[in-house]
Symmetry: C2
Amino acid sequence: MTLHDEGPVGADALDRVTWALRRAELAVTALKEQRLRSLGMAAAHYSLLIAVHVDPGLAGAELARRLNVTPQAVASLVARLEGRGQLERRPHPRHRHVQELHLTDAGRDALRKADSVIAEIEQQITEKLGAKDTGQLKALLGQVTDAIQQVQPAGPLSRPVTLRKDGTPG
Amino acid sequence: MTLHDEGPVGADALDRVTWALRRAELAVTALKEQRLRSLGMAAAHYSLLIAVHVDPGLAGAELARRLNVTPQAVASLVARLEGRGQLERRPHPRHRHVQELHLTDAGRDALRKADSVIAEIEQQITEKLGAKDTGQLKALLGQVTDAIQQVQPAGPLSRPVTLRKDGTPG
DNA sequence: GGACGACTGTCAAACACTTGACATAATGCA
DNA sequence: TGCATTATGTCAAGTGTTTGACAGTCGTCC
């Protein structure tokens, strides 16, 4: 199957699954960002808070892997959320060099408000698609994720990367 | 429907469509970025090149709207691609202050190589899902995009936004 | 016990992007 | 013709993130 070679490049480029995927994710993210903004929270903050909420005591490095960002970015976000009193850094009982992350009451409250906004968006989608199609969409998206990670297992290589000015890999 | 209130926050948070959507898009983007890196190209460059390829003579501002970034970001990308000799800025025949963007032969060549990489990833997904499910996935993703843009029409408001340090909208 | 390796966290620098403001040019209307 | 409006493109500054390098800590193998 080499139909994509020799053919005019952009012929089917705008009808690909990955484009539809990107457009949908872009639209959802933009809406989330807009709605969360009125709460004074960015989407990245919400993602971090809910990750810590689901797994209390998480370390920064592990959090960075789950959120697909660098430890630096996590440290920056954590510092800000800690400054707002929504997040707390405690020393790890066993590993002294590690810092456990925990939500404060204020953090739980902010997360609750933010999550209701996210849930509302989720509901709008569910209403439009119906329960059956929503379930199938989730299943298909899971298959896509599996298909990708089957080729590229989520490891140190899948960290966010950029490119230098001259085009050489950073 | 207010089931999401009062309940424990993260109970169903990791089983939402928007999460599955984000995970899938993140995985696909990471793989694209990794594969394109060996060609010395970033995903943003590919997106820009193919947009110009589909609509030659595009202006920077219009391009910015399509790519969901600011004109500044486009100008930066264009300057870099122009420096590599892959993109060309010509004066607009009628509007002197506008600059048309066109691909050079080198740009077309780079785009062809990059597109074959993207098409390969697309094919891996299509193989895994099958033609029928792939079509349905595209349709469902289109419905999601429509459902979102129905609430939040793609306009000046859907531009990329950030948040200040203090949490006030930028 | 001691050395090696792996992991966590932090600092300085470079890079990318957004924001805000400004100059320029074309269109619509009085 | 004159003027307001709109839109493109660019400059300067602020913000966020990645990169690269480093020190500290734990576990393991010799």
